[in-house]
């Protein structure tokens, strides 16, 4: 394998992914690790990174390493302060460069984005995926939904993140499935997973959003006395929570061009719910958008004028 020209890293809470990249945006190598931010003190990041990508490094000279995600959170590798929305999704000049022991590493950690109005909100990592999409469709005017542990709905216009809202849907799903009184009653691989059950739950929840906490318990009641099997119970739980999110996100999806960026199975569920509401979202792969966003940031660091439109400015010149 030829040495990469630069390295892109998505450093999440529980995992990290790294890509060895060539100048033109092609992926030469990929590596993943479970050494997410939650497990690491500040001094552990460089060793973990070297462990993962050490054999991609040049013998001499420096290689740019562009990092998005939780490595820039407070108490992580080095705090990369939030930028304030409305703003372009990336602004390479505001990244931070942690000192490294290995002089071949030239690390830049991208900032997250925060919002003060209408509600306080935060993102770290998703802005890079939004930038990746805008690098392909610079004139996009619409909404990008990133379903996941903390789902984001992002209104994008004129190359900027105008506003966004986060829903704790995925995390609540996991907690209820693993830790609540539903834990032995719900199994999405239960064999009887049922798309109709999912759709009915979405619609029931959207019709009466105030009943979310009651609907959750009613899954237990139905499992105990109405023979609701574990797969159908999972479909009902998932539909209930996705429905709750779609009800809350209505101002985002209603009448807007809509892109879903996320893991495939989850994106399909959101799309099924949205289609029933008369929306026709389009899909983009989550990793591909992250890579495209990291590449956009790297072009910004390298002073490529083509990137100015998305990154909102030109960053420090790479060595």
């Amino acid at each position: 394998m030829p040495n990469p020209d630069w390295i892109g890293v998505d450093w999440g809470t529980t995992n990290l992914r790294a890509w060895g990249m060539c100048r033109t945006g092609g992926v030469l190598a990929e590596a993943t690790s479970n050494q997410g931010m939650a497990k690491l003190g500040p001094e552990a990041y460089e060793p973990v990174l070297l462990d993962l990508v050490g054999n991609w490094l040049p013998e001499t000279g420096r290689i740019p390493v562009v990092v998005c995600g939780m490595a820039g959170a407070k108490g992580a590798w080095q705090m990369s302060p939030y930028r304030e929305a409305p703003c372009p999704p990336l602004l390479a000049s505001q990244s931070v460069q942690p000192l490294t022991v290995d002089e071949r590493l030239q690390v830049s950690i991208l900032p997250g984005i925060r919002q003060s109005r209408p509600d306080v909100d935060l993102m770290r990592g998703e802005e890079t995926q939004v930038a990746g999409y805008l690098s392909m469709v610079p004139d996009f005017d619409g909404v990008i939904c990133l379903p996941g542990t903390h789902s984001k709905w992002v209104h994008v216009s004129a190359g900027e993140i105008v506003s966004f809202r986060t829903f704790m849907t995925g995390e609540i799903y996991d907690l209820v499935k693993r830790e609540s009184v539903l834990r032995d009653l719900v199994d999405e691989n239960g064999g009887d997973w049922d798309p109709v059950e999912f759709q009915n739950a979405v619609e029931t929840q959207i019709a009466r959003p105030e009943l979310l906490m009651a609907r959750l318990f009613s899954i237990r009641a139905a499992a105990l006395v109405s023979n609701l099997g574990p797969g159908r119970a999972a479909a009902r739980l998932s539909g209930t929570l996705v429905g709750a999110e779609l009800a809350g996100a209505r101002p985002y999806w209603l009448g807007r061009d809509l892109i879903l960026i996320g893991e495939k199975r989850l994106s399909n569920l959101y799309a099924a719910g949205l289609r029933r509401l008369g929306q026709t979202p389009r899909f983009q792969d989550s990793a591909a958008m992250t890579i495209a966003g990291l590449a956009e940031a790297n072009r910004g660091f390298a002073g490529d004028p083509e990137s100015a439109r998305v990154t909102g400015g030109v960053g420090p010149k790479a060595a």
Copy 2:
């Protein structure tokens, strides 16, 4: 201490409480244990009970032991089948009598109540507290709210449970506080617990119930970037979830006589939210209502005609 005439037991999921009772309803002794249903196989119940109340038993003869709660669930001591609402809260003749090795024990496990319409729902234990309240106020027509891990709203009229609805509020509060990304940011003993923060969260949630999953995440955002301290964060989390429940329970509390039966701190929070909505609930102590309900059941077993009104009939005669 004189030997009790009978023993009442509230066997919950995580704990159990037993009371040594005299015929007239006075409490002679009390004992608690952490040997709740979740920890026990069917054969463990009798030894746990003997461990807890063995020294209350007579040397010879049998003593009635009236048990409510999860000991009657499937897979617990012995399944005590659900009765179907609408129905009186107790019907002593439908209890089950598990065989015991110790012949001094004459155990009866009270049934739970289920509902098929408008939604499938279940209770086990709360029906005994409702019966306790009706033993004092037999003509009560209104709603009893039992806040807790699985809060119940129970519509009572003409001595019957007409309908009820369960909300998973308390369990979600505990899961979010202990296990979610809010876990290090929320502490109800944090010193800065703030009743105004609680009230604002109740009202915000009632105004926009579809935003529950977003409000949960916004507590994290506010803690990270707006200096929301752990006590105020707990108040906001609690107000958000209580507000979500009050929004969903509106058909129960609106324009009805309203009784709160629950742990004191929690009942006060619900009352604060309800008062802001123009309701004036009255309070009853949870343990006192359980004891009164168990006493009512025991009178039913003993063939006391005075109990027929609440228990809906006379049960098997005690020895």
